[in-house]
Protein backbone atom coordinates (compact mmCIF):
# COMPACT_ATOMS: atom_id res chain seq x y z
CA UNK A 1 0.00 0.00 0.00
CA UNK A 2 2.98 2.27 0.53
CA UNK A 3 3.55 2.15 -3.23
CA UNK A 4 0.03 3.47 -3.84
CA UNK A 5 0.69 6.42 -1.58
CA UNK A 6 3.94 7.25 -3.37
CA UNK A 7 2.20 6.82 -6.72
CA UNK A 8 -0.65 9.09 -5.61
CA UNK A 9 1.87 11.68 -4.49
CA UNK A 10 3.56 11.64 -7.90
CA UNK A 11 0.22 11.90 -9.72
CA UNK A 12 -0.67 14.95 -7.60
CA UNK A 13 2.75 16.47 -8.43
CA UNK A 14 2.26 15.86 -12.16
CA UNK A 15 -1.21 17.41 -12.16
CA UNK A 16 -0.07 20.37 -10.06
CA UNK A 17 2.85 21.04 -12.42
CA UNK A 18 0.57 20.79 -15.45
CA UNK A 19 -1.89 23.27 -13.93
CA UNK A 20 0.93 25.64 -12.94
CA UNK A 21 2.18 25.48 -16.51
CA UNK A 22 -1.15 26.11 -18.24
CA UNK A 23 -3.10 28.40 -15.90
CA UNK A 24 -2.68 32.00 -16.95
CA UNK A 25 -4.47 33.98 -14.26
CA UNK A 26 -1.87 33.77 -11.44
CA UNK A 27 0.72 35.40 -13.68
CA UNK A 28 -1.75 37.98 -15.03
CA UNK A 29 -2.69 39.04 -11.49
CA UNK A 30 0.68 38.85 -9.74
CA UNK A 31 3.24 38.79 -12.56
CA UNK A 32 4.58 35.54 -11.11
CA UNK A 33 4.47 31.86 -12.03
CA UNK A 34 3.64 29.73 -8.99
CA UNK A 35 5.75 26.67 -8.17
CA UNK A 36 3.62 23.98 -6.43
CA UNK A 37 6.49 21.58 -5.65
CA UNK A 38 7.93 23.15 -2.45
CA UNK A 39 4.51 23.11 -0.76
CA UNK A 40 3.88 19.54 -1.89
CA UNK A 41 7.32 18.47 -0.67
CA UNK A 42 6.72 20.03 2.77
CA UNK A 43 3.35 18.29 3.15
CA UNK A 44 4.76 14.97 1.92
CA UNK A 45 7.79 15.22 4.22
CA UNK A 46 5.47 15.49 7.23
CA UNK A 47 4.08 12.00 6.52
CA UNK A 48 6.01 10.04 3.89
CA UNK A 49 9.28 8.09 4.15
CA UNK A 50 12.51 9.18 2.54
CA UNK A 51 11.98 6.97 -0.54
CA UNK A 52 8.79 8.81 -1.49
CA UNK A 53 10.53 12.17 -0.88
CA UNK A 54 13.43 11.15 -3.14
CA UNK A 55 11.03 10.09 -5.89
CA UNK A 56 9.14 13.37 -5.58
CA UNK A 57 12.34 15.43 -5.71
CA UNK A 58 13.79 13.53 -8.68
CA UNK A 59 10.67 13.14 -10.83
CA UNK A 60 9.10 16.47 -9.81
CA UNK A 61 12.25 18.34 -10.73
CA UNK A 62 12.66 16.47 -14.03
CA UNK A 63 9.02 17.06 -14.97
CA UNK A 64 9.22 20.74 -14.08
CA UNK A 65 12.41 21.36 -16.03
CA UNK A 66 11.03 19.46 -19.05
CA UNK A 67 8.55 22.34 -19.46
CA UNK A 68 11.14 25.03 -18.82
CA UNK A 69 14.35 26.48 -20.21
CA UNK A 70 16.13 25.35 -17.02
CA UNK A 71 18.71 22.54 -17.32
CA UNK A 72 17.20 19.14 -16.38
CA UNK A 73 16.99 18.46 -12.66
CA UNK A 74 18.29 21.86 -11.53
CA UNK A 75 15.75 22.12 -8.69
CA UNK A 76 16.35 18.55 -7.46
CA UNK A 77 18.83 19.41 -4.70
CA UNK A 78 16.86 22.30 -3.14
CA UNK A 79 13.62 20.29 -3.24
CA UNK A 80 15.25 17.26 -1.66
CA UNK A 81 16.98 19.43 0.96
CA UNK A 82 13.59 20.89 1.96
CA UNK A 83 12.10 17.40 2.17
CA UNK A 84 14.92 16.03 4.32
CA UNK A 85 14.97 19.09 6.62
CA UNK A 86 11.22 18.83 7.26
CA UNK A 87 11.27 15.04 7.55
CA UNK A 88 14.07 15.04 10.13
CA UNK A 89 12.27 17.70 12.17
CA UNK A 90 8.70 16.51 11.68
CA UNK A 91 8.16 15.96 15.38
CA UNK A 92 9.19 19.54 16.11
CA UNK A 93 6.57 20.95 13.71
CA UNK A 94 3.03 21.35 15.05
CA UNK A 95 1.31 19.96 11.98
CA UNK A 96 -2.15 20.45 13.47
CA UNK A 97 -1.60 24.20 13.45
CA UNK A 98 -2.39 25.84 10.12
CA UNK A 99 0.09 28.60 10.87
CA UNK A 100 2.95 26.13 11.31
CA UNK A 101 2.22 24.42 7.98
CA UNK A 102 1.91 27.80 6.27
CA UNK A 103 5.17 29.11 7.72
CA UNK A 104 7.24 26.03 6.84
CA UNK A 105 5.85 25.87 3.28
CA UNK A 106 6.32 29.63 2.80
CA UNK A 107 9.96 29.32 3.85
CA UNK A 108 10.39 26.39 1.44
CA UNK A 109 8.65 28.38 -1.32
CA UNK A 110 11.29 31.10 -0.97
CA UNK A 111 14.26 28.79 -0.43
CA UNK A 112 13.80 26.50 -3.44
CA UNK A 113 13.78 29.21 -6.16
CA UNK A 114 16.62 31.10 -4.44
CA UNK A 115 18.89 28.04 -4.41
CA UNK A 116 17.82 27.13 -7.96
CA UNK A 117 18.74 30.59 -9.24
CA UNK A 118 22.03 30.37 -7.32
CA UNK A 119 22.82 27.05 -9.04
CA UNK A 120 21.91 28.53 -12.45
CA UNK A 121 24.31 31.43 -11.89
CA UNK A 122 27.01 29.00 -10.75
CA UNK A 123 26.50 27.07 -13.99
CA UNK A 124 27.07 30.26 -15.99
CA UNK A 125 23.46 30.77 -17.08
CA UNK A 126 21.96 34.27 -17.21
CA UNK A 127 18.50 34.16 -15.62
CA UNK A 128 16.46 37.37 -15.91
CA UNK A 129 16.62 38.93 -12.46
CA UNK A 130 15.87 42.42 -11.19
CA UNK A 131 14.17 44.32 -8.40
CA UNK A 132 10.87 42.81 -9.46
CA UNK A 133 12.31 39.34 -8.66
CA UNK A 134 11.96 40.18 -4.93
CA UNK A 135 8.23 40.67 -5.47
CA UNK A 136 8.06 37.39 -7.40
CA UNK A 137 9.91 35.65 -4.57
CA UNK A 138 7.46 37.06 -2.02
CA UNK A 139 4.47 35.92 -4.11
CA UNK A 140 5.96 32.44 -4.60
CA UNK A 141 6.57 32.16 -0.87
CA UNK A 142 3.03 33.28 0.01
CA UNK A 143 1.48 31.01 -2.64
CA UNK A 144 3.54 28.08 -1.39
CA UNK A 145 2.22 28.65 2.14
CA UNK A 146 -1.37 28.77 0.86
CA UNK A 147 -0.89 25.69 -1.33
CA UNK A 148 0.38 23.76 1.71
CA UNK A 149 -2.99 24.39 3.37
CA UNK A 150 -4.59 22.74 0.35
CA UNK A 151 -2.12 19.87 -0.09
CA UNK A 152 -2.00 18.83 3.57
CA UNK A 153 -5.63 17.61 3.84
CA UNK A 154 -5.34 16.13 0.35
CA UNK A 155 -2.33 14.00 1.33
CA UNK A 156 -4.02 13.15 4.65
CA UNK A 157 -7.03 11.88 2.70
CA UNK A 158 -4.74 9.94 0.35
CA UNK A 159 -2.93 8.40 3.31
CA UNK A 160 -6.20 7.32 4.93
CA UNK A 161 -7.55 6.01 1.63
CA UNK A 162 -4.65 3.72 0.77
CA UNK A 163 -3.48 2.80 4.27
CA UNK A 164 -5.16 1.05 7.17
CA UNK A 165 -2.58 2.47 9.53
CA UNK A 166 -0.89 5.87 9.45
CA UNK A 167 1.85 5.85 6.82
CA UNK A 168 4.54 6.97 9.22
CA UNK A 169 4.43 5.63 12.75
CA UNK A 170 3.94 8.47 15.24
CA UNK A 171 6.67 7.01 17.47
CA UNK A 172 10.30 6.04 17.03
CA UNK A 173 10.22 2.51 15.57
CA UNK A 174 13.89 1.91 16.30
CA UNK A 175 13.36 1.99 20.09
CA UNK A 176 13.59 -1.47 21.67
CA UNK A 177 12.28 -2.48 25.07
CA UNK A 178 14.73 -4.85 26.75
CA UNK A 179 13.47 -6.62 29.79
CA UNK A 180 15.73 -7.71 32.56
CA UNK A 181 16.17 -11.54 32.79
CA UNK A 182 15.15 -11.38 36.48
Amino acid sequence: MKNFYALGLLVIALLALYLANTLEWPQRITGTRIDPLPALMVCAALRAPVLALTLLAVLGSLWQTSLSADPPGISMIPLFAVGVAVSLNRRAIHTRLWGARFAVAAAAGAMVPLVTVGLLILLGRQPLLGWFSFWQLAVMSLASGLLALLFFPLLQWLDKTVEDQPFAAPYDTTTQIKRSPH
Binding site: L14, L15, L17, Y18, A20, N21, T22, E24, Q27, R28, G31, T32, R33, D35, P49, V50, L51, L53, T54, A57, V58, L59, L62, W63, Q64, T65, S66, L67, S68, A69, D70, P71, P72, G73, I74, M76, I77, F80, V84, S87, L88, P113, T116, V117, L120, L123, R125, Q126, P127, L128, L129, G130, W131, F132, S133, W135, Q136, M140, D172, T174
Partner: protein
Protein backbone atom coordinates in the same frame (compact mmCIF):
# COMPACT_ATOMS: atom_id res chain seq x y z
CA UNK B 1 16.01 7.73 14.34
CA UNK B 2 17.61 5.63 11.61
CA UNK B 3 19.55 8.06 9.42
CA UNK B 4 20.96 5.53 6.98
CA UNK B 5 18.14 5.86 4.36
CA UNK B 6 18.61 9.65 4.42
CA UNK B 7 22.35 9.29 3.79
CA UNK B 8 21.80 6.90 0.87
CA UNK B 9 19.07 9.08 -0.62
CA UNK B 10 21.20 12.24 -0.30
CA UNK B 11 24.12 10.51 -2.03
CA UNK B 12 21.81 9.32 -4.83
CA UNK B 13 20.32 12.80 -5.39
CA UNK B 14 23.74 14.48 -5.40
CA UNK B 15 25.20 12.01 -7.90
CA UNK B 16 22.12 12.16 -10.14
CA UNK B 17 22.16 15.98 -10.15
CA UNK B 18 25.88 16.04 -10.97
CA UNK B 19 25.34 13.60 -13.85
CA UNK B 20 22.33 15.52 -15.21
CA UNK B 21 24.06 18.91 -15.06
CA UNK B 22 27.17 17.50 -16.75
CA UNK B 23 25.20 16.08 -19.69
CA UNK B 24 25.91 17.55 -23.14
CA UNK B 25 23.14 19.72 -24.63
CA UNK B 26 21.82 16.96 -26.89
CA UNK B 27 21.57 14.37 -24.10
CA UNK B 28 20.01 16.95 -21.75
CA UNK B 29 17.39 17.59 -24.44
CA UNK B 30 16.66 13.87 -24.68
CA UNK B 31 16.25 13.65 -20.88
CA UNK B 32 13.83 16.58 -21.03
CA UNK B 33 11.95 14.93 -23.89
CA UNK B 34 11.61 11.69 -21.90
CA UNK B 35 10.47 13.53 -18.75
CA UNK B 36 8.08 15.73 -20.75
CA UNK B 37 6.40 12.66 -22.30
CA UNK B 38 4.51 12.22 -19.00
CA UNK B 39 2.56 15.38 -19.88
CA UNK B 40 1.51 14.16 -23.33
CA UNK B 41 -1.81 12.58 -22.14
CA UNK B 42 -2.67 15.81 -20.28
CA UNK B 43 -1.92 18.04 -23.27
CA UNK B 44 -3.89 15.66 -25.54
CA UNK B 45 -6.83 15.68 -23.13
CA UNK B 46 -6.80 19.49 -23.09
CA UNK B 47 -6.78 19.61 -26.90
CA UNK B 48 -9.72 17.18 -26.96
CA UNK B 49 -11.63 19.30 -24.46
CA UNK B 50 -10.95 22.40 -26.54
CA UNK B 51 -12.35 20.67 -29.64
CA UNK B 52 -15.41 19.54 -27.67
CA UNK B 53 -15.95 23.10 -26.39
CA UNK B 54 -15.68 24.51 -29.91
CA UNK B 55 -18.11 21.88 -31.20
CA UNK B 56 -20.59 22.63 -28.40
CA UNK B 57 -20.26 26.38 -28.99
CA UNK B 58 -20.89 25.96 -32.72
CA UNK B 59 -23.98 23.84 -32.01
CA UNK B 60 -25.46 26.18 -29.42
CA UNK B 61 -24.94 29.50 -31.25
CA UNK B 62 -28.24 31.10 -32.26
CA UNK B 63 -29.15 31.84 -35.86
CA UNK B 64 -29.03 35.62 -35.18
CA UNK B 65 -25.53 35.35 -33.75
CA UNK B 66 -24.30 33.31 -36.71
CA UNK B 67 -25.87 35.75 -39.22
CA UNK B 68 -24.29 38.72 -37.48
CA UNK B 69 -20.91 36.95 -37.36
CA UNK B 70 -21.24 36.00 -41.02
CA UNK B 71 -22.01 39.62 -41.99
CA UNK B 72 -19.00 40.84 -40.01
CA UNK B 73 -16.71 38.28 -41.63
CA UNK B 74 -18.01 39.11 -45.11
CA UNK B 75 -17.21 42.79 -44.52
CA UNK B 76 -13.69 41.94 -43.25
CA UNK B 77 -13.23 39.68 -46.27
CA UNK B 78 -14.15 42.53 -48.64
CA UNK B 79 -11.62 44.86 -47.01
CA UNK B 80 -8.88 42.20 -47.09
CA UNK B 81 -9.56 41.41 -50.76
CA UNK B 82 -9.14 45.07 -51.67
CA UNK B 83 -5.91 45.20 -49.65
CA UNK B 84 -4.66 42.05 -51.43
CA UNK B 85 -5.31 43.70 -54.82
CA UNK B 86 -3.33 46.73 -53.68
CA UNK B 87 -0.49 44.53 -52.34
CA UNK B 88 -0.47 42.47 -55.53
CA UNK B 89 0.07 45.63 -57.57
CA UNK B 90 2.86 46.69 -55.20
CA UNK B 91 4.44 43.22 -55.41
CA UNK B 92 4.39 43.37 -59.23
CA UNK B 93 5.99 46.80 -59.15
CA UNK B 94 8.55 45.51 -56.62
CA UNK B 95 9.33 42.53 -58.87
CA UNK B 96 9.94 44.78 -61.88
CA UNK B 97 12.14 47.12 -59.85
CA UNK B 98 14.12 44.18 -58.45
CA UNK B 99 14.81 42.92 -61.97
CA UNK B 100 15.85 46.42 -63.07
CA UNK B 101 18.37 46.82 -60.21
CA UNK B 102 19.35 43.09 -60.26
CA UNK B 103 18.31 42.62 -56.61
CA UNK B 104 17.66 39.05 -55.37
CA UNK B 105 13.99 38.11 -55.06
CA UNK B 106 12.64 37.39 -51.58
CA UNK B 107 10.98 34.07 -50.85
CA UNK B 108 7.32 33.73 -49.90
CA UNK B 109 6.75 32.75 -46.27
CA UNK B 110 5.41 29.26 -45.62
CA UNK B 111 3.36 29.68 -42.46
CA UNK B 112 1.92 27.16 -40.01
CA UNK B 113 -0.52 28.07 -37.25
CA UNK B 114 0.25 26.77 -33.76
CA UNK B 115 -1.52 27.03 -30.42
CA UNK B 116 0.15 28.08 -27.19
CA UNK B 117 -0.17 25.13 -24.79
CA UNK B 118 1.97 26.26 -21.88
CA UNK B 119 4.39 28.79 -20.47
CA UNK B 120 7.72 28.48 -18.71
CA UNK B 121 7.09 27.55 -15.06
CA UNK B 122 10.26 29.42 -14.04
CA UNK B 123 10.02 33.17 -13.49
CA UNK B 124 13.53 33.83 -14.80
CA UNK B 125 13.02 32.71 -18.43
CA UNK B 126 10.68 33.95 -21.15
CA UNK B 127 9.57 30.93 -23.13
CA UNK B 128 6.31 29.27 -24.13
CA UNK B 129 5.28 25.95 -25.61
CA UNK B 130 3.35 25.46 -28.85
CA UNK B 131 1.60 22.37 -30.19
CA UNK B 132 3.80 22.08 -33.30
CA UNK B 133 6.88 19.88 -33.40
CA UNK B 134 9.27 18.11 -35.74
CA UNK B 135 6.36 16.06 -37.12
CA UNK B 136 4.86 19.33 -38.42
CA UNK B 137 8.10 20.47 -40.05
CA UNK B 138 9.23 22.75 -37.23
CA UNK B 139 12.98 23.08 -36.73
CA UNK B 140 15.18 24.85 -34.23
CA UNK B 141 15.67 28.56 -34.88
CA UNK B 142 12.55 29.19 -36.98
CA UNK B 143 10.91 32.61 -36.48
CA UNK B 144 7.56 32.78 -34.67
CA UNK B 145 5.19 35.71 -35.19
CA UNK B 146 1.62 37.01 -35.04
CA UNK B 147 -0.12 39.49 -37.35
CA UNK B 148 1.01 42.22 -34.89
CA UNK B 149 4.70 41.37 -35.05
CA UNK B 150 7.56 39.09 -34.06
CA UNK B 151 7.16 36.80 -31.02
CA UNK B 152 10.50 34.96 -30.87
CA UNK B 153 12.19 31.88 -32.27
CA UNK B 154 11.84 28.12 -31.86
CA UNK B 155 14.40 26.93 -29.32
CA UNK B 156 13.73 23.23 -28.55
CA UNK B 157 11.83 20.91 -30.85
CA UNK B 158 10.02 17.75 -29.73
CA UNK B 159 7.96 15.49 -32.00
CA UNK B 160 4.61 17.14 -31.15
CA UNK B 161 5.54 20.36 -29.36
CA UNK B 162 8.22 23.02 -29.37
CA UNK B 163 9.52 25.60 -26.95
CA UNK B 164 9.68 29.17 -28.24
CA UNK B 165 12.21 31.61 -26.77
CA UNK B 166 10.42 34.96 -26.67
CA UNK B 167 12.04 38.30 -27.49
CA UNK B 168 13.83 39.33 -24.32
CA UNK B 169 14.86 35.82 -23.29
CA UNK B 170 18.65 35.39 -23.18
CA UNK B 171 18.24 32.73 -25.91
CA UNK B 172 16.56 35.20 -28.30
CA UNK B 173 18.76 38.24 -28.85
CA UNK B 174 18.05 39.76 -32.23
CA UNK B 175 19.37 42.44 -34.54
CA UNK B 176 16.86 45.16 -35.36
CA UNK B 177 16.55 48.23 -37.51
CA UNK B 178 15.02 51.52 -36.34
CA UNK B 179 12.87 52.57 -39.29
CA UNK B 180 13.29 56.22 -40.24
CA UNK B 181 16.93 56.54 -39.20
CA UNK B 182 17.82 53.01 -40.46
CA UNK B 183 20.14 52.48 -37.47
CA UNK B 184 20.85 48.94 -36.28
CA UNK B 185 20.90 47.67 -32.71
CA UNK B 186 20.57 44.52 -30.62
CA UNK B 187 17.48 43.72 -28.54
CA UNK B 188 18.22 42.25 -25.12
CA UNK B 189 16.57 42.08 -21.71
CA UNK B 190 17.93 42.61 -18.23
CA UNK B 191 16.70 42.92 -14.67
CA UNK B 192 15.14 46.31 -15.34
CA UNK B 193 12.62 44.70 -17.71
CA UNK B 194 11.57 41.77 -15.50
CA UNK B 195 8.44 43.56 -14.28
CA UNK B 196 7.03 44.03 -17.78
CA UNK B 197 7.39 41.40 -20.50
CA UNK B 198 6.51 43.88 -23.25
CA UNK B 199 9.55 46.09 -22.61
CA UNK B 200 13.07 45.17 -23.71
CA UNK B 201 16.38 46.99 -24.01
CA UNK B 202 17.91 48.11 -27.27
CA UNK B 203 21.71 48.28 -27.24
CA UNK B 204 24.49 49.32 -29.59
CA UNK B 205 22.68 52.20 -31.30
CA UNK B 206 25.14 54.83 -32.61
CA UNK B 207 26.32 57.30 -29.93
CA UNK B 208 24.78 60.24 -31.80
CA UNK B 209 21.60 58.40 -32.64
CA UNK B 210 18.82 60.08 -34.57
CA UNK B 211 16.23 57.63 -33.30
CA UNK B 212 13.33 59.14 -31.36
CA UNK B 213 10.62 57.77 -29.07
CA UNK B 214 7.76 56.38 -31.14
CA UNK B 215 9.95 55.24 -34.06
CA UNK B 216 8.99 51.77 -35.36
CA UNK B 217 11.47 48.93 -34.89
CA UNK B 218 11.68 46.00 -37.35
CA UNK B 219 13.97 43.00 -37.81
CA UNK B 220 17.14 43.90 -39.72
CA UNK B 221 17.62 40.53 -41.45
CA UNK B 222 21.26 40.46 -40.31
CA UNK B 223 22.37 37.01 -39.21
CA UNK B 224 19.72 35.49 -41.54
CA UNK B 225 17.81 34.06 -38.58
CA UNK B 226 14.80 36.35 -39.01
CA UNK B 227 13.54 37.70 -42.34
CA UNK B 228 13.97 41.46 -42.77
CA UNK B 229 11.15 43.86 -42.00
CA UNK B 230 9.03 41.98 -39.44
CA UNK B 231 7.57 44.54 -36.99
CA UNK B 232 9.03 44.19 -33.50
CA UNK B 233 7.68 47.25 -31.64
CA UNK B 234 8.20 50.95 -31.06
CA UNK B 235 10.89 52.94 -29.29
CA UNK B 236 9.73 53.92 -25.82
CA UNK B 237 12.67 56.10 -24.86
CA UNK B 238 16.16 56.82 -26.14
CA UNK B 239 19.17 57.64 -23.99
CA UNK B 240 21.80 59.24 -26.26
CA UNK B 241 25.33 58.99 -24.89
CA UNK B 242 27.49 61.54 -26.76
CA UNK B 243 30.66 60.61 -24.86
CA UNK B 244 30.19 56.86 -25.18
CA UNK B 245 30.72 54.50 -28.09
CA UNK B 246 27.01 53.73 -28.39
CA UNK B 247 23.66 54.61 -26.85
CA UNK B 248 20.78 52.56 -25.49
CA UNK B 249 17.00 52.69 -25.76
CA UNK B 250 13.92 50.89 -24.53
CA UNK B 251 11.46 49.22 -26.86
CA UNK B 252 7.78 48.50 -26.29
CA UNK B 253 7.12 45.19 -28.07
CA UNK B 254 4.25 44.98 -30.57
CA UNK B 255 3.14 41.60 -29.17
CA UNK B 256 2.18 41.05 -25.55
CA UNK B 257 3.39 37.47 -25.13
CA UNK B 258 1.40 36.97 -21.91
CA UNK B 259 -1.86 37.18 -23.86
CA UNK B 260 -0.95 34.95 -26.80
CA UNK B 261 -3.13 31.99 -27.71
CA UNK B 262 -2.07 31.35 -31.29
CA UNK B 263 1.14 32.03 -33.20
CA UNK B 264 2.48 31.48 -36.73
CA UNK B 265 5.74 29.67 -37.42
CA UNK B 266 7.63 30.52 -40.62
CA UNK B 267 8.61 27.12 -42.01
CA UNK B 268 11.73 26.69 -44.18
Amino acid sequence: MNLRPYVYATGFVLVLTAVLLALPTRSAGQVKLAAGSFFVPLFSAEAGLQRARNFAASKTATREELLEQNQRLALTNEVLRIQIQQLRATAEENKVLRIQVAFAATNQWKLRLGQVIGRDPANWWRTLQINLGSRHGVREGLPVLTPDGLVGRVHDVHPNRSRVALIGDPACRLSINVQPSRENGILTADGATVFNHTIVNLQFLPAHTEARAGDPVVTSGLGRLFPRGIPVGKLLSVAPAPGALNSNARVKLAVDSSRLNEVWVILP
